[in-house]
């Protein structure tokens, strides 16, 4: 079992390294499409700098951004996976190792004492979400979530009477208030659910996990995604807030059923440097990275 645990730790460390140093291919291609769409020289220079930075980081194996974020693990764990209760500890060990090896900037701070743990771990850090699925393997997504893009997060406990009108207003106002701070062109995640925590959790998954260019399987949600993305881009904030056609690379909605008396709307942003990597790990300790990166 110890050997298997070591292999799982090694898998997690590699996921972290890939996520932090190499931009996912879907994000890189979305930035390239944004460059084709922009004609203002200022907007174009921002996008060119982002693309060049992504190529340099991949070639040199260095973190894309000096803010290497808060570590998030999204795990789909098989019923028969052998290390179920050890996942949290192994994830934390991997983050400590990656902090030295990649390296990552230490970002975990005790909110009561103001002390930085120095190794990117602490109470609830890394954040680990586990979903149980059939099988005996494990699927993992690691995301490094930057602080600048987390600050403009919004939650509205909307009037059920206003419904989708409240969704639209919450999203557009959140983007306008965020301005250049979350490093646009960003990805907007929208969550709708019964509770505030649920809406924000779904919004975070929508922003970070959904591939760019994908549409929600529900046709009504998909149509709303397209309409809202178009309206967000009509605001004209543009690359890095200098004005332009492309404010958001994508807008994704995830929803859960609400309560008759509530209509919670969460909005979560990812900066253009969307750092995620995914992979699979088998019960025999074999693993591979499944996401594509530049």
């Amino acid at each position: 079992m110890a050997g298997l645990e070591g292999r799982l730790r090694g898998f997690f460390v590699e996921l972290i390294r890939v996520a932090v140093t190499r931009l996912p291919r879907d994000v890189y291609e979305a930035l390239e499409r944004a460059l084709e769409a922009e004609d203002s020289p200022v907007a174009r220079r921002q996008l060119e700098a982002m693309l060049e930075n992504a190529r340099l980081a991949a070639r040199l194996g260095r973190p894309l951004c000096q803010d290497t974020g808060t570590p998030l693990f999204y795990l789909r764990v098989g019923d028969g996976f052998p290390l179920r209760s050890r996942l949290y500890d192994v994830a934390a060990e991997a983050v400590r190792e990656a902090t030295r090896a990649v390296p990552l900037r230490p970002n975990a701070v005790d909110p009561l004492r103001g002390v930085n743990s120095g190794d990117n771990t602490g109470r609830y850090v890394p954040w680990v979400e586990v979903e149980l699925v059939p099988g005996d393997g494990l699927e993992a997504v690691f995301v490094a979530k930057g602080g600048g893009s987390e600050a403009p997060t919004r939650l509205a406990m909307a009037l059920p009477l206003r419904g989708l009108r409240a969704v639209r207003e919450t999203v557009l106002r959140a983007v306008a208030e965020a301005g250049p701070k979350p490093c646009p062109p960003f990805v907007v995640g929208v969550g709708i659910a019964a509770g505030g925590d649920q809406a924000l959790a779904l919004a975070k998954r929508a922003a970070l996990l959904r591939p760019l260019g994908s549409r929600h399987p529900d046709p009504e949600a998909a149509r709303l995604e397209e309409e809202l993305l178009e309206e967000v881009n009509r605001l004209g904030l543009g690359p890095h807030g200098f004005g332009g056609r492309v404010t958001a690379l994508g807008l994704h909605i995830e929803y859960g059923f609400r309560h008759p008396a509530t209509y919670a709307v969460g909005v979560v942003f990812s900066c253009w440097a969307l750092r995620r990597a995914s992979g699979v790990f088998g019960p025999d300790g074999s693993w591979r990275i499944t996401s594509e990166h530049i």
Binding site: S40, P41, V42, R45, Q46, E48, A49, M50, E52, N53, L56, A57, L60, R62, P63, L64, C65, Q66, D67, P103, R105, G146, G148, R162, G163, L164, R165, R168, E169, L172, R173, A176, G179, P180, K181, C183, L224, E227, E231, R234, L235, G236, L237, G238, H240, G241, F242, G243, C271, W272, A273
Partner: protein
């Protein structure tokens, strides 16, 4: 608008007054980093009549906390050095510009009216480097000339005196003429927001 300049420090007042909001600059020469703690310390020293161990006049201050690695020969290498959020320095930046004589403040996210007034009065500009482009920034560092207060302030907060070459693209956001590009873009964004929310009424999809 939106001209491209290649400039070298020390910058003269005339060079800086030629720049307008929206222009792009690639900067060469000496640049020093300073975040919250270094700003406070630099101002304290200069206000009490002391001298700084590094030059500032005509140079650029960069709001950044780099990730640096010591090389085998004892020198330093900058691995990642993207800009940090400038707004944190807004309360002290006017005094900082007055006392140090910097001609350019570089960061991200924008600064407020105090900095804009100091830029106008003392002949300086605020320019933004693309957020998150930390490796691109590090590649422009030719040499780490020196690091100051590393023991006391730590790697991110220390003052790094860097020799840079074609550091950019830097976009001028606040010029010496009172323009603030982010204020202009954000005013248009708010107008369009009100058009979108007010102009057509509800989306018609709520029923």
């Amino acid at each position: 608008m939106s001209r491209v300049y290649r400039l070298s420090t020390p910058l003269s007042g005339d060079e800086v007054r030629r720049l307008e909001a929206g222009d792009t600059v690639y900067l060469s020469g000496l640049v020093f980093t300073a975040r919250d703690a270094a700003h406070r310390r630099i101002i304290e020293i200069l206000e009490s009549g002391g001298e700084l161990p590094f030059p500032t006049r005509g140079l650029a201050v960069y709001h950044a906390g780099p990730v640096a690695r010591r090389r085998g020969d004892g020198g330093w290498e900058i691995l990642a050095a993207g800009p940090t959020t400038s707004a944190r320095m807004e309360p002290v930046e006017p005094d900082f510009i007055r006392l140090t004589g910097v001609r350019m403040v570089i960061g991200k996210g924008g600064m407020g009216p105090g900095t804009a007034e100091a830029c106008r009065r003392y002949g300086a500009v605020y320019a933004v480097f693309t957020g998150g482009a930390a490796v691109l920034a590090a590649q422009a560092v030719e040499k780490v000339e020196a690091v100051y207060w590393l023991e006391e302030l730590g790697m991110a907060e220390a003052v790094w005196l860097l020799r840079v070459r074609d550091f950019g693209p830097l976009t001028v956001v606040i010029d010496t003429w009172g323009r603030n590009l982010y204020d202009e873009v954000m005013a248009r964004v708010r107008e369009r927001l009100e058009e979108l929310l007010g102009g057509t009424g509800d989306s018609g999809r709520g029923s």
